[in-house]
Symmetry: C2
Subunit: 509 residues, 2 copies
């Protein structure tokens, strides 16, 4: 066994006494075990940079004290006769003690009690999840080419970034991209690069909310935002949503002393799918101006609007610096990329940049560089155009299939946008039973019930379609319709698949 | 101009009245400007999916009310005679008002007042920065090859990860890597992947500390840790460091009710560079066990130990679940990668995983996969071995150059480890003057004064050497020595460079 004893050469205590003390401590703490061989005096002298005579002096003292024993020719050992009570216990019962003692913060206590925040995903053949982009449409060769290019020819960019807001060329590209695709004008220095929209939400909450403060959010709304607000100790005011978006009447009377911000998803309300009307947007901004509260605009899947309408984002309509805009590339490219951004009012840029730095220094740089080129070389725009058409086709298929197989049992609630739609299924079954029956025939569904602040919203489902083929969508809805109408048996399932082949042709685009 | 008015078809209010209300609101809010042309009744009818007659009815009402005016043949316009006071002001003075109203959280208020947290880096020819790995030694072709491989053949891995702790194969690889390189045994399910050690620090602080709680840290210590603790509202107890590491006497008497955790850098104390002795480690653990406080072990540059000694990490010595271990690949590979990890006591895994999920969902996945292969294929080990030798050589050069050019004016404080060393320069000059003179001859230096809790530590400098060549190190210290001895003039600088060429040979390895 090799070890080093650190000596304090400025101390008034002689070196041999220091060695004695250290060895006693190592033995009593249980690090050196009874019967264990210790280094030869030559070896210890060398590693401690003292003379061998000094070490010999120490060993002699410890031998005389009974800490060590010597076996002629075999070396020096820790005395195996040292009473066990001398030796500090490190038995496993301590682990339990420590675990019980640990005091978590309020934040820690809250999230320790929570269930994991991601939905448990069943691996079913046809899964109507609402957040999967069609990865297979991405030009990964381009992405790979850019990755290699940057990691081979840009050595300095492997370093820490020197820009607290994120890679500047990316911020410029995003600013331009937002103007062209969303009519949102901002300067590159209002853009802060973060790890996806979740980090944006977390930063906003930490910076604007103390424990006990109120925040408003749409009801129904985005579950992870709700969790984020609660973890920070905020109290959440659920604000109803109607055809035009969040209902402002419920916000009147609140000032920023009471309500620090309102979190909204105007481009495609999550999960109802509705688009906030222009006048509702103006009304919300007017309320924010008079109340002093901030508006957090989460534009998570705004790239996919299939109608002609193009309503400016709140951030663009706002003249008062009341809007923080959150964008992400998870829906436009792929989620594992984990690059999102905030567009901030100028007076908040500094505090957000500092917070990002203390949170995780910076987002990984290599993929920021790749994304910059991907945008600037036009790949992103072409990619979005291509998948927007594809998603539109898949969405139309879903709408037709719902109408054909479920008829009046299914009411689609949302507008012509986004990567999912919300459907109200009118049956005698509760949500759990619907999900169970669907899974029996290999179809995955997600209920919207958990997105409501109260539990009385049975029958609403968030149906994603973006990563399913036209055939899968038809088959999935067909199977769903069958199991909703009658109890399922395995014989039924076989019959359905025969039925399906016959009926599939009739609704193919 | 195109826009859509959202109508509520379930409302008792007739559609034409709804259109009137919306248009009035758009005009009064200033979105439609006086004199602006509005869509033709045909266009609006189409976009709102109502009959043209309905729109005509609305327009007639608004014309009669004076909101609109019609110019025969030219279209319909917003009346430019509407009193400006009717129209909601959106002038820029509001921006100021809103900025003043915004109330930040305690966290936000603290960091808004702070200066940016990264040192301002001067671009000087020879910069003794303390955190730059030698990027040019990294096998970037391997890295690039793995990047391309994963992003082309692993489509499903572009998705959201399904593991709250991070990519499981990487966690297994890290667990094995830690056993082999650090003698640290842990299970893959104790490892949480985070964005570099800064995110680890932030998570630890949020989960263990409420505002007002005390935490201990080494004095001198790591500045960003200090900022992180303060931003969370913690009070920081600076604990002195001696030759063996943090001095336990200063912790005695504190329990976890008073002191939530102690943050230490045992492998290579930052910035003094000392290695915590084995017995001090055991003493610290014993204190933690009795006090109930946690120990946060930041092992930031442990890969680079140049002596024979290999003291087990606190995490390995600990039997009571009191240690949270922080590791990073920023120093072993490259900082832009931004992958770090925590090794957690088992009873804290769940709360940290939830916190990571709410903070930013997950760390980017593609580079987690690449890193996994890079470790498993042995590239990491080979890379570390290669640059450890290189750093050793550069370190020796630095030590020799300090001794040769500065002699007794320079005292090296630390042990034989890490990526920097700390030097005490005994001159009549203050730190600012030393830095200024050095920069005049193109040499960058960082004072350690800001790493001390009190300001009386002049003359200590953190000198990094890992990204400088042997020649640069010699030249840098030579130039430093010259300017410390006499006032600098430009003539002097020319003279030095002649001197240098003569003397460089004598200290070349």
């Amino acid at each position: 066994m090799e070890f080093v004893i650190t000596l304090n050469r400025g101390s008034s205590l002689p070196l041999y006494r220091q060695i004695c003390e250290e060895l006693r401590r190592l033995i009593l703490s249980g690090y050196l075990l009874p019967g264990q061989r210790i280094p030869s005096s030559r070896a210890l002298a060398k590693s401690c940079k003292v003379s061998r005579a000094t070490v010999n002096l120490s060993y002699e003292e410890l031998l005389s004290e009974g800490y060590l024993k010597s076996s002629h020719g075999a070396g020096t050992f820790v005395n195996d006769q040292i009473p066990k009570t001398f030796i500090q216990s490190t038995d496993p019962t301590h682990q339990l003690t420590q675990a019980k003692q640990i005091k978590l913060s309020k934040y820690g206590t809250h999230i320790a009690k929570s269930k994991p925040f991601r939905p448990i995903e069943q691996h079913l053949p046809i899964n109507f999840l609402y957040r999967q982009p069609a990865f297979d449409q991405l030009s990964l060769q381009q992405w790979g080419r850019l990755l290699v290019h940057h990691c081979q020819f840009n050595l300095k960019l492997l370093d820490y970034g020197n820009d607290l807001l994120g890679y500047r060329e990316l911020r410029k590209a995003i600013s331009l991209h937002l103007t062209q695709s969303r009519g949102l004008r901002c300067e590159a220095d209002q853009v802060l690069i973060v790890n996806g929209s979740q980090q944006a939400l977390d930063l906003v909450t930490r910076i604007l909310c103390d424990s006990g403060d109120w925040v408003g959010m749409e009801n129904p709304g985005y579950l992870n935002a709700h969790h984020t607000f609660l973890a920070q100790g905020s109290r959440v005011l659920p604000v109803p949503v109607d055809e035009s978006g969040i209902v402002i009447e419920h916000l009147l009377g609140f000032t920023n002393a009471k309500l620090r911000f309102v979190y909204v998803t105007p481009s495609h309300q999550f999960p109802s799918g509705r688009v906030m009307s222009l006048s509702r947007r103006l009304e919300l901004l007017s309320w924010a101006q008079s109340s002093g509260a901030m508006i957090i605009e989460d534009d998570y899947d705004s790239a996919y609007s299939y109608g002609n309408q193009s309503i400016p984002p709140l951030q663009e309509l706002d003249k008062s610096g009341a809007v923080i805009y959150i964008g992400t590339f998870s829906k436009e490219l792929f989620p594992a990329l984990q690059i999102g951004y905030l567009v901030l009012p100028k007076h908040l840029v500094n505090v957000f940049a500092n917070a990002k730095c203390l949170t995780d220094l910076q987002s990984p740089l290599l993929e920021q560089q790749v994304l910059t080129d991907f945008i600037n070389e036009g790949h992103l725009e072409r990619h979005i155009k291509r998948i927007r058409n594809l998603y539109y086709q898949r969405r139309q298929t879903l709408v037709q299939a719902l109408s054909m197989y479920l008829g009046e049992c299914a009411t689609i609630l949302d507008e012509n946008a986004g990567m999912h739609l919300m459907v109200h299924l009118q049956t005698s079954l509760n949500d759990e039973e619907i999900i169970h029956r669907a899974s029996q025939v290999g179809v995955g569904l997600i209920s919207a019930a958990q997105n409501y602040s109260n539990a009385s919203y049975e029958g609403k489902f968030i149906i994603g379609y973006t990563d399913l083929t036209v055939q899968q969508i038809q088959e999935g809805i067909y199977k769903l319709a069958k199991v909703l109408k009658e109890p399922t048996t395995y014989t039924d399932i076989f019959r359905y698949s025969v039925d399906l082949q016959e009926s599939a042709c009739s609704c193919k685009k």
